[in-house]
Symmetry: C2
Subunit: 411 residues, 2 copies
Amino acid sequence: MGMKAYRSIQGLPEGIDLAIIILPAKSNIQAIRECAARGIGAIVLAAGGFAEVDREGEVLQEELLKAIAETGVRVIGPNTSGHTSTPHNFTSSFFPLGKIPRGNISYIAQTGNFATHTMRYIITGENFGVARVVGLGNKVDVDESEILEYYAGDPETKAIFVYLESFKRPRCFLDIACEVTRTKPVIFLKGGGTAEGAQAAVAHTAALASDERVIDGALKQAGITRVYKYSHLFLAAKALAVMPLPRGNRVSFLAPSGAMLVILTDLCRQRWGLEVPALEEPTRQRLQEISPPYIRMRNPVDIWPSAIVHGAEFAYREGMEAILKDTNIDAVVPILMLTDDTGVPPLDFIVELATRYPEKPIYVSFSGEKKHMEAAKAFLEPRGVPTFPLIEEPFEVLSILARSRQAMERP
Amino acid sequence: MGMKAYRSIQGLPEGIDLAIIILPAKSNIQAIRECAARGIGAIVLAAGGFAEVDREGEVLQEELLKAIAETGVRVIGPNTSGHTSTPHNFTSSFFPLGKIPRGNISYIAQTGNFATHTMRYIITGENFGVARVVGLGNKVDVDESEILEYYAGDPETKAIFVYLESFKRPRCFLDIACEVTRTKPVIFLKGGGTAEGAQAAVAHTAALASDERVIDGALKQAGITRVYKYSHLFLAAKALAVMPLPRGNRVSFLAPSGAMLVILTDLCRQRWGLEVPALEEPTRQRLQEISPPYIRMRNPVDIWPSAIVHGAEFAYREGMEAILKDTNIDAVVPILMLTDDTGVPPLDFIVELATRYPEKPIYVSFSGEKKHMEAAKAFLEPRGVPTFPLIEEPFEVLSILARSRQAMERP
């Protein structure tokens, strides 16, 4: 990637370094030449109407490529919703995003959707910030490999989330990923191709299945963590934004319900690749101390009897602290019981524990009343503790991030 | 099940038919004998402290069984959070549940949690009602088979959700299920056993895997739809409460994002057992009519170009109606784009379509701003249209309910 493209992504303000062209497709080639003539070397092309629509568009796109080659400008797009850099308070998006909170998560998206309405969801529904977002569009010039390389060296970026429907230079992308995944998680959602590709996939499953296996192997080898749900692009991001990557896949959780303990243990084991290991004996003893004697405390932690005797704040605080100290455990999920009847404890203790044990992720979930769940989210998330409304979600996220850790430490 | 137990579950108010005993475990046997002496034949025992805790409790439970056999009373519990019947405005739960909305979903739960804080979540966070809820507790007398049989014949119950950790009379349960699943969905979450069982399962995977296969086969044969997530006990319920069971597994969805169309099509195909079939030609033509010509309309439906030209209300309404008429399609999922910038259409049209096409489920999901999603949920759900905040959720629910339909129509 040339210096000018770097500067464009970084949104450096001085001089005219970057042009954002929002003109009908046909006018783009002329506009590019005019920019080049004025020494503007970095251009974002918003217009659709190129190869993604029809034969005429394909011809236009070929002319575009020629103009780019002749002038030497660097281009993001066309058919892109733009790029964003919060450290520079910069966006080239035509979509009125509002103030995007600055943070450490960066996205590469081969879809306009991500940089627009999904970003609006993240801004309004979650409490984490982003560093950079690039909508690739038709990627006639700047592609996912260049962006990935930039994010790899970007001190603002802690974790990289990628949505792609195709690879422009697969080998190059995988080579870069192979390096960056040693230090930063790369979490990847692969679309089935274009809408046509998805249609084709429905008709030709065997072909897809085979390609899928090849892709899967290559991604794994490059240390890339694959996800399959669109929602995981922001659920895993919210966990990573404020918490460390877990050291491994060994989880302990505290729940106010035996059924939840059983079901979640089943799922950890059978579906999520997570271990629910035995606690160290001092941990177990501490849990036993705070609990009525008729419960034999172990992992997962049946915390409610202790909460009944000592109050929920004491029980969860002491239980969580014991577990956070346990070297058998990589992450802690407290499932808080929040109802008017059982009482809602002040939750500062969770923020405090997160501060005192910064090496272990804490993901919070809930059982009980909606209003208290919303209030707990509004309190905890801006203070650095992610919350998840459904009890399965923290484990799905942990499952993803434990794989990222495994990839990071691969030989 | 005897008449008195039936009456107890139905909560018939006249006379003293039912006693709710909330006394320490040791006092329960004496209390049962006193009830029997006064002609009270149906009893709920709330106390824990029996076989679930220790050897002493086991002895107590044996004495309890003897007292039940000698007196002929029918007992729910011990160690139960009680039972609820909204048609009779009745609950024996000691947990202050508040007003439970009346509805057509009935639960059998071998956990106190469900009838207490999960019920509080349902009441405060969702907009569907329940008919009956029975917390089985230690089920020394009344068990899941009797409750299932009662729900089978219960005109208030449209669908049955079950959480069990063990079967008291497996053969009996499966025989009853085999019948009822011809007319009502039975959706079943099986816990790994007691906490001890779950622990054992971690240590002895092979044994578990083998048992699991046997259980899985038996449940399938009985037409029971198995689920694996606790959250699905209320997410599938909210869909079934207001919408019909889908006729099959063929879905059409409308999304404002190509990436969502691609990802969801991948998941339908690869993970959820759902088909995204071609639309009938008249449907396709109608979609093409309302769309700009550069998009070739098909299933799944790329609705946003039409929304840009005609407005979101027109595009979604006309698109959904065309699909609702299509005999290739069993269920419709509109993913609404709701942002300040793109505008939020009035959503009456969805309620109206649901009324005019009552044979096909409509599940709504969203992309965009949290406040609009919350408002759409608050508007649509009391009017009979379920909503799901994450785009994958309606499909997961559809996947469960399509299996229920398949079970219902098995030979």
